[in-house]
């Protein structure tokens, strides 16, 4: 099992990189061959994920529905002296995102046909990017995770900076610096956690469960080591965060080590999400990036932030997550409202879609953060489960609708070469099929029932009430704004008697290739909207388990700490208010 | 003591050698003709050779046992060979110089100045 997992997961991750290597051999004066080859590689990766998802053959890795734990995990020593492992595996949270990545990448490779400069370099970078993205979702070793995170960054920089629009250098550098800032914070946090981790604190069973070692004997051997055993193993770190006191030492300004680690990681991840106020790289990057890169950016890269928060921030630093839940949710709601308002004011079609991403990803933050499993709720994890599942669903749904929206913008941009919202109109009459699909996809973004956006938004919104009434009302108010900016956009672009901008005669109906990209997106948007369990069945067990673990932690650990704090607070207040206490 | 009254010994040879050496040096320093300079060099070398030969001769030493022994004579032979080689090279340089400048005046050959 482990052997097949090793082969298949490595294949999925590194197939694009191998493809990129092979591309070097193809002469660069045959752009069509290069594109076809790259498309073939992305299709192969997608098929490989499909085999893992649906194939039941014994000699392949197989993702079992309904299992909460890590599946198909394997671990090989990589850099022994720092306990770094080539450790990968998947559960419901990562696997759905891997599927999404493979799917969106495949479609955006198809959308790359209009790239005509330096095709070979483009395809090589594109495939490297895919390796980085898949690696991020599958890596379970923090160091490996970080390596993939950075691997993804560089191709993106070039893809925006070379093949982008007029202000591409600015956008690319902005994207790069923002993300790099996040990575640096993340690196600090990784090191903080690494140097304070100690495998000896875990029980033998926990060590085995975290895939640190294979058997109990080896685990006992680790436990009897004389020196602290640091680790990058994300599962082991999560266990430490939830079951030991390792990360609770005070670090700085009276805050614990995990508080700082959480904050640093959170900043790193919300830059990627992106959440207000560190979101401004997104509109620029989107506006300048070529269409397929926008699709990947919106469809996959933004999900890494949410994924990181769910996979890393919350399980490893639960105490800090509990204390800072207000911050996470507030950022979410502010992003939702802010993004929606900003979208309302945009004149540039692509910028508007970019801001809608900010707004939609706010739901993700909000859903993750609604820690309603507190004593006042008798540690009932169900609403939080709903919120976090909704957030995960929203990530997938946004990964379907947002690339679709960007692609729709790209299709019209390729024909008329402008994106000014005031200079469109009447497209419905000129190319009805394109407009029909665009309506479907934009309505998915609007959160119309029966389309994928609805489920995530509603599940998140409904879960908020038991956490905070104010945030709940604010998040509900977003639906009005969303309807406002999307309908107004559709009206300005697709409705009306005639097209108002330049190159009107270039508007041709959607062609077969474009249809082949747009139609699957719309079809999935409908499928997930009508039958969301197509996703939930995969992810819910894992998400639920994480929430239950954290709820259990709240009950078993956090509550005592809160009580201590309260007692301490009361004591201090008592001394201040009542001088007699001291005398007694 | 008067050296002229003494029996011929090492010091006499050394005096001749020194004279030849000084002559050679003066010749090198004053001659503008390159061949003259070469002759001066030969004088310097042979002056030194005389010293070697004299100091290695067992007949000249009072004790009948020379200081340097055969070593001195070997060195003398070595110097002669060296002088021959050196002369060959130097003459070649001179010829070449003459070909280029139509003169053998060493003062005109200042192209190596810093």
């Amino acid at each position: 099992m482990e052997q097949s997992a090793l082969i298949w997961l490595s294949l999925i991750v590194f197939l694009p990189a191998l493809g990129a290597l092979a591309l070097v051999a193809i002469p660069s004066d045959k752009p069509d061959v290069i594109k076809l080859f790259s498309l073939g590689v992305t299709v192969a990766v997608f098929l490989a994920t499909c085999v893992v998802a649906f194939g039941g053959a014994t000699d392949t890795a197989h993702f079992e529905k309904g299992v909460a734990e890590m599946q198909d995990a394997f671990s090989l020593p990589w850099i022994k002296s720092f306990n770094i492992y080539y450790f990968m595996g998947m559960d419901g949270i990562s696997f759905t995102l891997v599927m999404l990545t493979a799917f969106v990448t495949m479609l955006s490779m198809g959308a790359s046909w209009s790239i005509d400069r330096h095709v070979k370099a483009y395809c090589i970078l594109f495939l490297l990017l895919e390796t980085g993205m898949l690696g991020v979702f599958l890596a379970l070793d923090f160091f490996l995770f970080y390596v993939f995170w950075e691997v993804m960054l560089l191709p993106m920089y070039f893809l925006i900076g070379v093949w982008g629009g007029p202000r591409r250098e600015y956008a690319a550098i902005k994207f790069f610096l923002y993300t790099l800032l996040g990575s640096v914070f993340m690196l600090i946090a990784i090191l903080i956690l690494y140097f304070n981790s100690d495998l000896r604190e875990l029980s033998a069973d926990q060590l085995v469960a975290a895939h640190v070692v294979d058997g109990v004997d080896a685990a006992e051997a680790i436990r009897s080591e004389p020196k602290a055993q640091h680790t990058f193993n994300i599962l082991a770190l999560s266990t430490m965060g939830q079951h030991t006191q390792l990360f609770d030492d005070e670090l700085f300004l009276g805050k614990s080590l995990q508080w700082w680690a959480f904050l640093l990681l959170l900043i790193g991840f919300i830059i990627k999400v992106p959440a207000v106020p560190v979101h401004t790289w997104l509109p620029d990057a989107h506006v300048e990036a070529p269409t397929p890169i926008s699709m990947i950016l919106a469809g996959v890269l933004l999900k890494m932030g949410g994924y990181g928060i769910i996979r890393i921030c919350y399980p490893i630093c639960p105490d800090a997550a509990f204390d800072l839940a207000w911050l996470v949710t507030s950022i979410g709601v502010v992003s939702m409202l802010y993004g929606a308002f900003a979208a309302l004011a945009q004149k540039d079609f692509k910028r508007l879609v970019a801001y809608s991403s900010v707004s939609h990803m706010g739901y993700v933050m909000l859903g993750i953060g609604v820690w309603s499993a507190t004593a006042g709720n008798n540690y009932n994890p169900e609403y939080w489960q709903m919120g976090m599942n909704g957030a995960m669903f929203q990530m997938i749904a946004h990964g379907i609708s947002s690339p679709g929206m960007f692609f729709m913008v790209g299709v019209i941009y390729e024909r008329v070469h402008h994106r000014n919202l005031d200079e469109f109109g009447g497209l419905f009459a000129k190319s009805p099929v394109y407009s029909g699909i665009a309506f479907g996809i934009f309505f998915a973004g609007l959160g119309l029932p029966g389309l994928c956006g609805f489920i995530g938004e509603v599940f998140v919104t409904l879960s908020v009430w038991n956490y905070s009434h104010v945030l709940a009302v604010l998040s509900a108010a977003t639906v009005i704004l969303t309807a406002g900016y999307i309908l107004w956009t559709l009206q300005r672009v697709y409705l009306g008697p005639e097209y108002k901008g330049p190159h009107g005669d270039h508007i041709t109906p959607i062609n077969g290739r474009e249809l082949a990209i747009a139609a699957p997106l719309l079809a999935l948007a409908i499928l997930f909207g009508v039958y969301p369990r197509a996703i939930f069945d995969y992810m819910t067990p894992s998400v639920n388990k994480e929430v239950e673990d954290l709820a259990g932690w709240t009950r078993a650990t956090k509550e005592s700490r809160l009580l201590e704090q309260r007692v301490e607070l009361d004591r201090r207040r008592g001394i201040e208010n009542d001088p007699l206490i001291g005398e007694e | 003591m008067n050296p002229l009254l003494e029996p011929v010994g090492v010091s006499h040879f050394m005096a001749v050698g020194a004279l030849m050496f000084v002559c050679g040096v003066v010749c090198m320093a004053t001659k503008r003709n390159a061949l003259g300079v070469l002759m001066g060099i030969e004088l310097v070398l042979n002056g030194a050779n005389i010293n070697f030969v004299a100091l290695s001769s067992s007949f000249l030493s009072a004790s009948g046992k020379s200081g340097l022994g055969l070593d001195g004579q070997f060195i003398a032979l070595f110097v002669i060979v060296l002088a021959a080689a050196e002369a060959a090279v130097a003459l070649a340089i001179t010829l070449n110089f003459y070909n280029n400048h139509a003169t053998v005046d060493v003062d005109r050959a200042d192209e190596l100045k810093g």
């Binding site: 004011a345 006042g376 029966g450 704004l481 409705l495 009580l563 | 810093g114």
Partner: protein, 816 residues
């Protein structure tokens, strides 16, 4: 046939009726343009789907009445047969004094409910697609499919123009020509099918979340249909307005949903059997607990949600208890004291008012009524189906469906909302000249009536009016469509005298007008106690009767609400006959239009006749066999007379009390006299024209302007909401660009500045030192150059001198 068979048959029958339009929609989307010439086949397909749906619904209705025979509301107790799945019965002494029988049994209405599939489940929280079928559902299905069928037929004729290329005279292109475009016949029927699917889904829905799903879907259908003429700016504006205003209502609805979800943790209406054999309790039975005599009960979850400190205390005590149920049971045991103190009551109020907010949006109630008149931009069949008979009635339907959950306070809000709306809309309708707008305001006003009825406790009255109104209002709209089809204008001042040209249309519309004003013979005591008339007569009478009955218990509120209802009846009569007279009676005002006017084709006026027939008879009752009220009575949740908690003086009379002759006589006479008054006034102004309408307009100029401008609501909202939203959006965008990005860019600039300084230091200080050393070395070497003359003889001299000097130094040194 027993109830079990019925329980398995009904969901299938109604499910087929529900899904057939979806199939039709899908087929038309995919193959619409290829269906026959210009897509004419699409209309046949859509019509076939909805007619089959109607057949299914009628069969379902027949089965229902066979298994659950109607019993007159005033006769003995209802049938004992209830859904085999659950039987909640409670016989409570009611003690309504004036009631005919004095006592009647309270029991849970008959309903069948079940899950179709689950959207998502988290522990006990479950969001599903489910059905809830009771008498109201069955009745609504029959009504919606019947009207939709008629309108489909009508639309085949009305949308005939779209079968070939169309020149849209309302759209002027930039080159000055009118827009010329290909027809979109199939697309119209595609939207109609989607709408039918959504509307039926809304009625079929077994939980409030599913209602919300289809709520949004009918909204989007309405958006498409209003904006059917996508080239017209006014149409797309109206479509946007409709959807966004509805979203404002949905905002409230979501809050209501959240309060319910957070408190109760279920959306299901009825009790449902789980796969594991247990019964999960729905919202209704939690709020109206049979064991509690159907009194308003605050559900456990809501009480709990309002006393977190108690839950916390218990939870903290039990946090190390291995038995997770211990804490739960202790919490449950503590709740009853808080329930008695009405903890959680406000959550129930929020849930009720929140859900009602959604209804306000959908049913175009004050203050969200502004979208409906603009929605008349859509083709007339749409106005008839979507914006009068069904979709806008969905708000009333949901209010009725959700009735058990509304607290007395929420009901009062509903009543006032309805009263304000009905008066407001009626006054605006007086001055409107666009024939469809008059009808639109009339719709708003009639919906206000329904809300008012529900708000004052007249559950059956409100829903009864919903059904009768659906028939006569769709009839009126179709008639107006027929007129517009003939005249190519909406403006009534350009019509007149059309009765001769269009007798079918004219007379059916007269029937509609009579129905809407509630024409009939008033009750004559001792002879016929409940009067006799057209369908609207019964429903409007029962509303006014209920308002009167409410007045007897609540002097202040009751008086206002009753006055609104009675006054509204008078205005309704006036503007409806103003419309009819202006259109069909008197001399033609525009001869060009008059000369070209013609009766519509048969496919258009036959539906009118059918609808006119129903507009007359749908309100009639044949005791024990048929009667809309009796059917509805089977679906009524016992909502006993209860006093408010926040407003303790608020009392709700039982609806049966309004059937008492003493109440009914007053109500009937009031309704009759006010309607007659309105009718006579209209006759005086527009029928026989004894008075000149223009003069009256002059006389009341300020009021006229105020009404013509629709009370300036559009301007007010534009000022209050739309502009501020855009301003805020602008500010946010500016903030983004200037502040955040400005900060980032400045940061970059500062960093670059810092780098420049660093560069200077590097260049002039660090490099300076290095270069200085090099320079010194260089000049030193340079100074030594002079020695190198290249002169051989000098070198020899130097060697000699050097050797001599060395010798001397060594000698001296060794000597020294």
């Amino acid at each position: 046939m027993d109830t079990k068979t019925l329980a398995s048959l009904l969901p299938i029958l109604l499910g087929i009726a529900w899904l057939l339009p979806l199939a039709s929609f899908t087929l038309i989307v995919l193959f619409g343009p290829r269906m026959g010439k210009h897509g004419v086949g699409a209309s046949y397909l859509a019509t076939l789907a909805i007619v089959s749906g109607f057949a299914c619904s009628v069969v379902a209705l027949g089965l229902w009445m066979w298994v659950h025979p109607l019993s007159s509301a005033h006769a003995a107790a209802p049938e004992e047969s209830i859904d085999a799945a659950r039987q909640h019965e409670a016989v409570v002494d009611h003690g309504a004094d004036g009631h005919a029988s004095g006592h009647h049994e309270l029991k849970t209405p008959i309903y069948y409910t079940g899950d179709l599939y689950t959207l998502g489940q988290f522990g006990k929280l479950k969001v599903t697609i489910s059905f809830y079928i009771d008498a109201l559902t069955v009745g609504m299905f029959a009504m919606v499919t019947l009207i939709a069928s008629c309108i489909h037929f009508y639309a085949i004729g009305y949308m005939h123009d779209e079968l070939h290329d169309v020149t849209d005279h309302e759209v002027v292109l930039s080159d000055g020509h009118h827009l010329h475009r290909p027809g979109r016949f199939h697309r119209f029927f595609q939207y109609l099918s989607l709408f039918c699917f959504s509307m039926l889904g809304l009625v079929y829905a077994g939980n409030i979340a599913m209602v919300f799903v289809f709520w949004e879907l009918v909204g989007i259908c309405s958006y498409f249909l209003i904006g059917f003429y996508i080239e017209r700016k006014s149409a797309s504006n109206a479509a946007n307005k409709a959807f966004i205003v509805n979203r404002v209502g949905d905002f409230g609805m979501i809050i209501g949903l959240m309060a319910l979800w957070g408190g109760i943790g279920t959306f299901a209406f009825g009790d449902m059997e789980e796969p594991d054999g247990t019964t999960s309790r729905g919202i209704f039975s939690q709020v109206r607990d049979a064991e509690n005599g159907y009194k308003l009960t605050i559900p456990d979850g809501m009480v709990r949600a309002t006393v977190p400190e108690v839950v916390e205390e218990v939870a903290v005590d039990h946090r190390n208890n291995p038995d997770p149920l211990a804490a739960e049971s202790e919490i449950a045991s503590r709740l009853s004291t808080y329930r008695e103190q009405h903890y959680g009551y406000w959550l129930l109020v929020i849930a009720g008012v929140g859900i009602f907010c959604g209804c306000v949006g959908k049913s175009a109630q004050f203050p969200l009524h502004v979208w409906l008149p603009d929605a008349m931009e859509g083709p007339t069949p749409v106005s008839a189906l979507v914006h009068s008979a069904t979709m806008v009635a969905a708000g009333v339907y949901l209010t009725g469906r959700f009735y058990p959950v509304f607290t007395p306070e929420a009901r009062l809000v509903i009543a006032y909302c309805g009263a304000i709306t009905l008066f407001l809309a009626a006054t605006i309708a007086i001055t409107a000249t666009d024939i469809k707008r008059v009808l639109a305001y009339s719709t708003v006003s009639q919906l206000g009536y329904m809300m008012l009825a529900l708000g004052v406790g007249g559950w059956v009255a409100g829903l009864f009016h919903l059904i009768t109104h659906a028939f006569f209002k769709s009839l009126l709209f179709l008639c107006s469509g027929s007129v517009i089809h003939a005249c190519h204008t909406n403006e009534m001042p350009k019509m007149g005298g059309l009765l001769k040209k269009m007798p079918w249309t004219g007379y059916t519309m007269l029937v509609g007008c009579l129905a809407i004003i509630g024409a009939g013979l008033p009750p004559v005591f001792g002879f016929w106690p409940f009067g006799f008339g057209l369908s609207g007569f019964y429903s409007k009478d029962s509303i006014i009767a209920q308002a009167y009955s409410f007045w007897t218990e609540n002097p202040t509120h009751g008086m206002i609400l009753f006055a609104a209802a009675a006054g509204g009846a008078s205005i309704t009569a006036f503007y409806m006959f103003r419309l009819w007279f202006m259109t069909f009676i008197g001399p033609p005002r525009d001869h060009h239009i008059y000369d070209h006017a013609h009766e519509s084709p048969r496919i258009m006026y036959l539906p009118l006749v059918i609808l006119a027939f129903f507009a007359v008879v749908i309100g009639w009752t044949w005791p024990g066999v048929w009667g809309v009220t009796d059917l509805l009575e089977q679906a009524r949740w016992p909502a006993e007379a209860s006093a408010g908690v926040l407003l303790p003086n608020l009392h709700y009379p039982d609806e049966h009390e309004s059937h008492v002759p003493a109440v009914h006589l007053v109500a009937g006479l009031t309704a009759f006299s006010t309607a007659l008054g309105g009718f006579l006034l209209a006759t005086v102004f527009y029928g026989v024209r004894w008075l000149n309408a223009a003069e009256a307009r002059q006389q009341f100029a300020p009021i006229y302007t105020f009404l013509v401008n629709k009370w300036y609501f559009d301007e007010l909202y534009d000022f209050l909401w739309v502009r501020p939203a855009h301003v805020v959006a602008g500010v946010v965008s500016w903030f983004d660009k200037q502040v955040i990005d400005g900060f980032i860019n400045n940061l970059a600039r500062w960093t670059r500045g810092l780098a420049d300084i660093d560069d200077l230091i590097d260049r002039y200080f660090v490099d300076g030192l290095v270069n200085l050393t090099a320079a010194w070395t260089w000049s030193f070497g340079n100074s030594l150059r002079g020695l190198q003359t290249g002169k051989l003889r000098q070198y020899v001299m130097l060697i000699v001198i050097g050797t001599v000097a060395l010798t001397i130094i060594i000698n001296f040194a060794s000597a020294g």
